[in-house]
Symmetry: D2
Subunit: 480 residues, 4 copies
């Protein structure tokens, strides 16, 4: 396994094509707006080396018998599924942001079991190829970006009927040694700090969408891949002389619109090519794992926000008011409900034909559906407790400007147990999580990551056993 | 293990003192208002004999090595805790009501581990006594009522300062062969159809409340015990010529104000007497188990209500409207969130010093807190879908009166797939669950059973690790 | 204007055809299950004679210049609309139930302005006829039932395509002196204690539904009209020796399935016959007025429930707990939000071509939409505060049975400021309003009366000016 | 009345002391981060000259008989109160931001009636002085900042017991010609673009807090006043070459920590000095008016957000999905509920002894309490509909960089009715309103402006007539 430092260096060595705020970057490493995203991923390496967290962060690979980072694990049982969620909660607590390495982990597990199923059906050997890829990821301790969401264009039309056929990523050429793909993946979380990108289709596909039924993995600095970094709320505060106004100087997440402009994929890295019938299953499995994930990571970030809010209450001198205590309890309650759903869908997991474990689909969707609601309410309650100063406090530059510093020091003092400086730091963290760059992950990504709320509702409808429920009622009533 | 019929006969043989609607009954058996409550408990016996459910309903006793009904089980691991919740969900689905046998199960587990702890501390032998009691319950397959809630009188005063010292149940005399107790337990679910009553204190106690720190078990027909059946909404519909307007003719729950008027308890049935320090722990453990329980049983009842509501939508001819489908999804979502919490607090259970397993306290309280909310919203959505006819439909007597029957048949016909009779049956079941006698269990008991919402909030506050959460925030901010 | 006693006598003199619990009644007057409904209407007469309320309860008729009960008023300005809501709130406070006289008032206003519009369009003289009817209602101070909701049968089909053409009320014959109508109106609130029934169509109609576009008024004891009283939760408690367990002995509401079996309507009582284009407008106007009404009456009933809940908290001895106080505040807040919406849609009312005032349609629908939600939450909070005893307390018969009375007196004593008897009375009122017969009005009728929630959403969608809102955004963004 | 341009010039002529991002500014005019705030206020001048809005925006002053801008009006009747709310809604629609001129209007009305009351009590002549100030504001069409919120320091202590006595603004010296004041006002909305600042105390005061019971007005460029501009989420996007990523280039709000460092106030500008008993009343009146205000302005901003969200749905090609339409309906419903509360508390207003009209306190607090909730839910629903691209879209610099522009154009195209450029503009506006600088006004200010939610709950508790409600219940139950 790599150390955190080795991870950073390994990323620095890659030659990615990254655009950010109109400029091309040689690397994301060291860029003040992107480095926090690297730091979050780095934490997944650091904790694996940390005695306190090692047991949770690592696991013995059944493929190699070696100790690996859990982020590269194929889940062997429900304990693995549960520990995944616990690990994610810890990382949320440590970074107060999206730490980006889950998408790849979830993609790896989904592709693994699905390639197995495809092979069983069609006699292909995708699973063997994929196992090799996984072993490499485990042995070299790689961070993998899972790439699913296509731009989609006109959502009422299937891929092959789009005005521009590239609005879903597709095979544009097939050669003896591999394929050429073209298209884009939007919202790519953590791609500019990943080693590999593992591409999957984004929806169930019909026979005429054959060229869109493609899954593969390539290094993120492969020729033809271009990343355009998405703007986050308050992103440029990280570029200021002091990053203090950013709220969280050390950690963050990042997303990029990622273009695949005629990218070559060698045969051994192709894990699906034309098996349209399995596109839907792959999407569903990935979505299931990722909806489970949110029961861990968002609860972890929620822990930090709740903690920061409790500190804000103390620094404001109101921590003992009964309504403040009650709101903190409500925040904890909502946060633990998310976690409970994450644990439950893991605990109720089941073995797939491939031997690895999948989560309980219904409960994972219920988990994610709650994730689309409760963080927003937690954030609202946090703003209630934090007070208006969170959005009207002067800038760090004013706080340190000799002309204004004494005024700020004098007038923004509250509880004597907190320096004005610390009080403002706490408020900036709450701003970061409820309005700023981390709100992108804690709120909007909670809404749309792993599928928008309506996607979960469709799954809940399908998995909710309504027919059986009607039978229960009929049985009570003795009707048929 | 007993068959369902044997259970009914065993209750019939007892000589309880029951008052109902102003009259003394010789037995609850056969009384049209109480028989449904017996039927619900009977289901816990019937399913244990049913090939389809046997595995879930029974377990091998580690005390005797024999197969026992899971309702008399001491939980040996987290699988036991999980299976308990699953069993409860099934019974909710089968009875659409409170099946009453959980309180005793939860009390048995709480008393078991607590007597063990007391013995360790004081060298008493309560646990050995209790083990004998448990073995008898297992071998004779008894239904036990767990009795906790005292009337409480003036809630701002401890037991020994009450105007009437009997407002909390207490030891009024100690003899060589046992003790005499006096007091009452309110809201006693299923006591008139239980074989034994297992009494526990209801709050943490101080040293001066020594006489109130008492736990014991006696048969429910012991001299001095009087039960006064509580009224439930629409209870007397079960007394009408046809029970159809009751909504659920076969199953129900029952509660009784239960008086202990100088009841003698022999020494071997005393499991705590004066160990005030352990009263709070016992309450907390019982409450924890019982808050877990609601993640199972209420989800099971919710399944029936959702099913009935879907049938109502069909019988009204509106099942395909998008807003109807969406509301059913929401009901399922909320219901599964309850279940997820029940599973999660089980899955995260831990071993107590006594060797048996306890649930995760924080998550069990989170579970119950959600139970105080979601069934009400599910009921509201059900009423939305069912339509106003649920509360304006004519009585069964009018439906069968030749003068009015043709009008009802003609004008209350809706979907051709449903007879008017069945349509009305479905609506009566929804009325039963949202306003009628089952609403007592599905709504008000969801609110107050196992402790009112504020009790859970206090526990969430205690268990929510707020200090750790503050540390997470401090660590992100580099402050202390 | 009549006194309350005169009203009762006037109803007693009528020869209605009423069925209740399988029996035909000579009159609703004096029947213990129906008398409370008469008492509620009687309150509308009593208060009009009461010095304290006279100003609110009466108004000078612009048709006759005489003082009339406001329930027979045609609204002349927004003050009238506002006073209507205030009057309804007072009556909710005085009766804690549906007082039933609003439907007729709302129907009268809707039919008045619509007959005017029809006459303008077609040269008919419906408005003149209707004015005569109104003058009689005002002068004789009549209670009028507004009858809109047809059984509807298969909701996907228009009236004329139903399997049974009578599933919507229709003209089956036309004679020189009048028409013969057949059909039924469901959920008829307060018809068995009204003098007249004013019938309206229930949906917008197409040209082929000509015979269904009919509006008229006849006395409620007209030959051919049969009323079958709907069952309410806990209805028969009013039949018990003591009505105490009913919770509210004096007041209640009532609904009946009402059959029009070839009823003759003389020409002067026909207010629409075949003008299909105006059916939708009439429905919309009636619904608008009635959605406004709920901002008054439900807030009034809510006031009683909040008051009872505060008394329950006191009698339980917990009124000073901060969480109790906070929940009462929340109940008040929600209740006042309903009232605010009722006032706002009145205040924003506008003059119709007929000269009388209509409410603001958007805000009236917003009002009713909130009514489908907040009373349920208020009821939930009330049950939270009231405690479980509300659904487990012994019957009044047990409370007065000498064998059980001492136990109940002793053990259900709580705050010394309240007798046990009063404590139980308070809890029964809360049961009545949240589960019992008044819950039919306070909850289910809040959901479905004046149209189900989806009906309001459709109106909100239509009236919400989404195009204008898009223009605001376009203007900010300088796009088109 | 001034034109918009004259307003800008009048502000430019003032010599304020403003600090922003660490630098001292000569004026807010022309500063790209502050100019949008000036533009919002300018809209209040522009619309007063606009034929379409003139009637709503202006009123005849009873003091002078001249036409004045409604923002300088003293409310003469409930129509004035209602028109105030309507005007605010229009301005929210026109600016999609806080337009800042309300605080002064609300302060003027509160100070007017309170100075009248003080004079009646103590024989002072504050009201006469204040009338002169108001006439000047009306005649010169001035924008006035209402300054209430002190830093408050240790919230458990009254002003005179604070460690630093200046943590509440106070009189530090009294001279023949006036007073010297010292302290600060936090969260000063729109002060750097106002002509005058009208200072009021921030809480009810005891006798020992005499020096804190002070109200006065001075020009905003008075010697000793320093403003330190508060940071807003995404504020510096307005400083970028293109302001497009800011979402709303033209309008915004602004807040400043404002220091009064020994500021001289001449006698004729002092409106309260030591009348501690009236401090609470003044606060309550101001808060009441300002809680009413939010029923107008936030509904107006909500209109733009709903419109933008509908456009986003269209540009994404999903506007016809039933769940999208339903969410838009919910947004409208919530938004109109806010407006209804604003209208209702105006409609129910009452005359104060001074002759001017005050709002209904209970309903204004209910209005504001809803404002602390619904905009957050509207924002959540907006993010749901808008989709994840709102937080992952590339920057404007990338959109125009020739290397990345073609990719963005190609891959972010969706509905053919919208250009990619416009699609992104719409998303940026939603980001602005739900996470960016306008979210400060639409969300956090909705929470804390005019008092935090708990402040409203205290008022709701006081004004909720709980005793009367208990009487209603007692009357129904015939108990006392």
């Amino acid at each position: 396994m790599m150390t955190g430092e080795q991870y950073i260096e390994s990323i620095r060595r890659m030659k990615m094509h990254i655009f950010c705020l109109g400029e091309e970057l040689e690397t994301a490493v060291g860029h003040p707006m992107l480095q926090p995203a690297l730091n979050s991923v780095k934490m997944t390496y650091d904790l694996a080396q940390d005695a306190e967290y090692k047991e949770l962060m690592t696991v013995v690979s059944p493929l190699t018998g070696k100790i690996i980072n859990r982020f590269t694990n194929l889940h062997q049982n429900t304990d693995d599924l549960i520990n995944k969620v616990k690990m994610q909660r810890v990382l949320g607590q440590k970074t107060a942001s999206c730490f980006q390495r889950c998408v790849g982990m979830d993609a790896m597990n989904a592709v693994y079991s699905t390639t197995y199923d495809i092979d069983q059906k069609y006699g292909t050997n995708y699973n063997e190829r994929f196992k090799k890829f996984i072993i490499r990821c485990q042995e070299e301790d790689l961070t993998v970006d899972g790439a699913m969401t296509d731009p989609k264009g006109d959502r009422s039309l299937p891929p092959h009927l789009q005005a521009d056929p590239d609005l879903y990523l597709r095979v544009v050429d097939r050669r003896a040694d591999g394929i050429i793909v073209r298209g884009a993946k939007v919202h790519q979380t953590g791609i500019c700090n990943s080693h590999e990108v593992l591409v999957m289709p984004t929806i169930a596909l019909g026979e005429e969408d054959r060229d869109y039924a493609v899954s593969f993995a390539v290094p993120t600095d492969t020729e033809g891949i271009t990343m355009i970094i998405g703007r986050q709320s308050c992103d440029t505060r990280k570029l200021e002389d002091s990053c203090r106004d950013a709220g969280n100087c050390r950690f963050g997440g990042v997303e990029a619109l990622t273009i695949f402009n005629d990218v070559f994929v060698p045969n051994e890295r192709i894990f699906m090519d034309g098996e349209t019938k399995y596109a839907g299953l792959l999407v569903e499995r990935f979505a299931g794992y990722h909806r489970q994930s949110y029961g861990g990571c968002k609860a972890g970030v929620g822990d930090v926000l709740i903690g920061a809010t409790a500190l804000a209450a103390e620094s404001n001198g109101v921590a003992k008011a009964s309504h403040i205590k009650d709101k903190l309890i409500e925040m904890i309650h909502l946060n633990e409900t998310l976690y409970a759903c994450g644990i439950a869908c893991s605990c109720e997991g089941h073995k797939t034909p491939s031997g690895i474990y999948d989560i309980d689909t219904l409960l994972a969707n219920v988990c994610k559906q709650n994730v689309t609601r409760f963080p927003y309410e937690i954030a609202r309650l946090s703003q209630d407790i934090a007070g208006g100063l969170m959005v009207t406090a002067p800038s760090e530059k004013d706080r340190t400007n000799p002309e204004t510093a004494p005024f700020i020091e004098k007038y923004l003092a509250a509880s004597s147990s907190f320096s004005t400086s610390d009080r403002l730091k706490i408020l900036r963290l709450i701003e970061n999580l409820t309005l700023g760059s981390a709100a992108v992950g804690y709120l909007t990504e909670s809404m749309h990551g792993a599928g928008s709320p309506q996607a979960q509702r469709i799954m809940i409808s399908r998995q909710g056993s309504l027919e059986k429920k009607k039978d229960f009622a009929r049985s009570i009533l003795d009707i048929n």
